[in-house]
């Protein structure tokens, strides 16, 4: 009863500020609680998988996980000649255990696959030997193993094993940069016939830039029309922009196949009107052209919409003012209208470029042999060759490229100037 109203107690006047701070802190914390689902979602679906990808690209325990004792022992080897009898013994015993246990991810086959990446053709050496090492019960182990397969006398096999026994290492980045380890263990350029990734990175960036540029050329007039036409017409036009946007990606891509293929609509029409002969049908799909056409169409709305939302806010009176002050129409456009559209243009180009650089499904369907992008190679390693570490290394490199472009963009245009609508 005596402390019925403590807040106006004289002794409390000083900490009032603190109390206020406390209350607002609680409120802020409560408000933060509302964002927890989103934060969790981002952590689980974004931060964690990307972290795992980064980790996978430098970490591979397919040797130390299969022959753990050997992986430690081989480090003491100086790399001259062949490892000692002792190391051979540990290897044979570890391999026999791995063969018996058959634990997921810990079988001789896993190690075989890992070594085969760097030493092509050695896969069967491991799997075959694993089937037979159980029979080796006593020394000399070196001779017994070489008797199973004389490739075990090749120092190259042991050098590769030694290198791969480290769980952490740059070897998948070495492969992703079109390089390899030579016989002395130095990193050298891969044979030209086997180089593929760097060229593809460059091609992907060039195609993404080209697609972005074409999108700007096509979207700018459309967005302008959308912004200045009376509501009735602009609504109709808007629907024509949005309808493809809402249509399934696969449907749109296959529609392009029907239109562009050599027996397709365009070629049929050209032949019918005699523009080209029956033999002169043009190849417009299953190549780079097909990739460009289909991707421009699919990414166009991402350029039109930010441009439109910015153009809509530009008062027509600005242009009228410029003209009334004696500016030529082109100059008025160049010096008044165009600069005002830059935030939308910037948003559109960034959006389209970043989407294009990582695009997968459309090039996979219509890219043929020369229209493939880097994401198709990543998908190949995740889905077909099952070299997830190499896929992760390529994915990380793609991520770095995107971040570099984002940084450059920020320096040149300023990310705070972006306007999506």
């Amino acid at each position: 009863m005596t402390t019925a109203n403590p807040s106006i107690d004289q002794t409390d006047t000083l900490p009032l500020k603190q109390k206020l701070a406390k209350t607002t802190a609680i409120q802020r914390r409560r408000a933060f609680l509302l964002t927890v689902p989103l934060v969790l979602f981002l952590l689980i679906s974004f931060v964690f998988p990307i972290g795992q990808m980064l980790f996978n690209s430098i970490h591979n325990d397919k040797v130390s996980g299969v022959v753990p004792k050997f992986a430690v022992a081989i480090q003491s080897w100086d790399g001259q000649g062949l490892p000692s009898e002792e190391i051979f013994e540990i290897f044979v015993k570890d391999l026999a255990i791995a063969k018996k246990v058959r634990e997921v991810g810990r079988t001789a086959g896993n190690m075989a696959t890992r070594i085969n990446y760097e030493l092509p053709g050695s896969r069967s050496l491991f799997t075959k030997s694993a089937r037979k090492v159980g029979k080796i019960t006593e020394g000399p182990y070196k001779e017994a193993l070489i008797k199973i397969d004389k490739k075990w006398a090749n120092p190259q096999v042991w050098l590769t094993l030694q290198r791969a026994s480290h769980d952490l290492g740059p070897s998948f980045y070495v492969a992703a940069m079109d390089m390899k380890y030579n016989e002395a263990g130095e990193i050298v350029k891969a044979d030209e016939l086997y180089q593929i990734y760097l060229q593809n990175f460059i091609k992907t960036m060039w195609l993404a830039a080209l697609i972005t540029f074409i999108c700007v050329l096509l979207a700018y007039p459309v967005a302008y029309l959308l912004a200045i036409l009376p509501l009735r017409q602009s609504n109709l036009l808007m629907i024509m922009v949005l309808l493809p946007f809402w249509t399934s990606l696969l449907v749109r891509t296959t529609a392009w196949i029907a239109i562009l293929q050599t027996e397709g609509v365009i070629n049929d029409l050209l032949v019918y009107f005699g523009v080209i002969g029956e033999d002169g049908r043009i190849q417009m799909i299953y190549n780079q052209t097909g990739t460009i056409i289909a991707m421009v169409h699919i990414l166009l709305p991402f350029m039109v919409l930010p441009l439109y939302s910015v153009m809509k806010t530009i008062q027509p009176s600005y242009m009228r003012a410029a003209l009334s002050m004696g500016s030529k129409p082109f100059n008025a456009y160049r010096r008044v209208y165009f600069p005002l559209t830059i935030p939308g243009l910037a948003a559109g180009t960034l959006l389209v470029f970043i989407l294009a650089i990582g695009y997968y499904i459309t090039p996979a369907l219509v890219g043929g042999q020369d229209g493939l992008l880097i994401s198709n190679l990543i998908a190949y390693h995740i889905q077909k060759s099952l070299n997830w570490s190499l896929g992760a290394a390529l994915g990380t490199m793609l991520l770095v490229v995107v971040l570099i472009f984002y940084w450059l963009y920020n320096r040149l245009i300023g990310i705070d100037k972006l306007k999506f609508g």
Binding site: V104, G105, S124, I196, D370, K384, L386
Partner: protein, 365 residues
């Protein structure tokens, strides 16, 4: 689309068989997921394996399609969340999956004897029983052309002869089995193909041969594509899986011709991902479907040869046309088998990483 059709088919089958099945299987019925390559091939399996098994046991099968490879199995097993029970894979994948420990080991002694009493171990063709897999069929990659457009195709050499037969060629996107085709077309005897591919000179020779048609090639990825490419006139000749081509000919009346010269044959096998649920029903399905009669029945829907010797004599006519004798359309029929090559799974297990890398690099140049 295929998946939908399959599911509807199965739902219908289940509805009709439930009553019969329940009579003795009681209310204890289980569901397993069987995964295969879709299209006419999955249909043949649904008709010959799934439906009779569901009728006999009262269990249900969910049929799913995939495009081959081990990616899904690996992902499921490593994540500890296996939803596939039985998967139809190529020999090289069966071996690799077994080596990597992502497949269940299968005890061959539990497989049923052939209808003629021969034990399974002797009844199956050599190589059909692997540590983690039971073979069901022989299939083959062949090259095909459209008879209404070109005539007089004589052997694999013509596939690479753009002068004699101008127009596009369809090839599977990947090093396998194009390198083998290239060498055989270049005059190499099937028996020497893999020996030659083990040398740099041999690989160079195969790529050099592929170079001659590279600019005229359309690359396909799933088995349903090549008959479609040929039907659309996109290609003049293409490689394809023999069963699907037969189906386009027999069911859709397409004027396609299968050229068996230089065919490359391979096995398809059932494997069970490690840790698949409902092990008992799963293994029961594997045993049932690789029995003498189901294997023979399967061959009446699509010309993929059964892997049990006891099934050979039972292979009859096409399921809806008694005039088509399935035996002569099998890859292993003597007339078709004159110049044939068996896919060497060990060669590809060792070299596919490297050769595909070179193939991909070659493709973009």
């Amino acid at each position: 689309m295929n998946k939908l059709v399959n599911k509807t088919l199965i739902a219908a089958a289940v509805a009709t068989t439930m009553m019969a099945g329940n009579a003795y299987a009681g209310s204890h019925s289980e569901s397993i997921t069987v995964v295969s390559w879709g299209g006419a091939y999955t249909k043949s399996q649904v008709e010959a394996y799934h439906k009779p098994w569901m009728a006999a046991t009262g269990n249900t099968i969910v049929s799913e399609d995939f495009n081959g490879g081990l990616a899904e199995i690996k992902a499921q097993v490593e994540a500890g969340n296996v939803t596939w029970n039985v998967v139809d894979v190529e020999l090289s994948d069966a071996v690799r999956g077994c080596d990597e420990g992502i497949l269940e080991v299968i005890d061959h002694s539990t497989l049923p004897d052939g209808d003629n009493g021969v034990p399974a171990a002797e009844d199956f063709l050599p190589g059909a029983l692997m540590e983690c897999a039971v073979g069901n069929i022989v299939w083959s990659t062949v090259f095909i052309h459209d008879e209404s457009k070109i005539q007089g195709v004589d052997g694999l050499t013509d596939f690479f002869d753009l002068g004699k037969f101008p127009g596009k060629r369809g090839l599977r996107k990947g090093a396998k089995p194009n390198l083998e085709f290239a060498l055989m077309a270049d005059g190499v005897d099937p028996a020497d193909v893999y020996e030659m591919l083990s040398t740099d000179a041999g690989i160079d020779r195969a790529f050099a041969k592929l170079d001659t048609i590279k600019d005229s090639t359309v690359w396909w990825e799933s088995g349903a594509q090549p008959p479609q490419l040929l039907a659309d006139g996109e290609v003049t000749m293409t490689t394809a899986y023999n069963g699907r081509v037969f189906n386009a000919i027999a069911s859709e009346g397409k004027p396609f011709v299968i050229n068996w010269d230089g065919q490359i044959w391979d096995l398809d096998l059932w494997v069970v991902p490690k840790g698949a649920p409902n092990q008992e029903a799963t293994m029961d399905f594997v045993k049932f479907s690789t029995g003498t009669k189901p294997l023979a029945d399967q061959a009446s829907w699509i010309p993929y040869g059964p892997l049990r010797k006891s099934s050979f004599g039972l292979v009859g006519t096409f399921h809806n046309n008694a005039e088509i004798d399935m035996g002569v359309h099998m890859p292993t029929a003597p007339d078709n088998f004159k110049r044939a090559l068996q896919n060497d799974f060990e060669f590809w297990a060792d070299n596919s990483d490297q050769l595909n890398e070179r193939f991909n690099a070659w493709l973009t140049k």
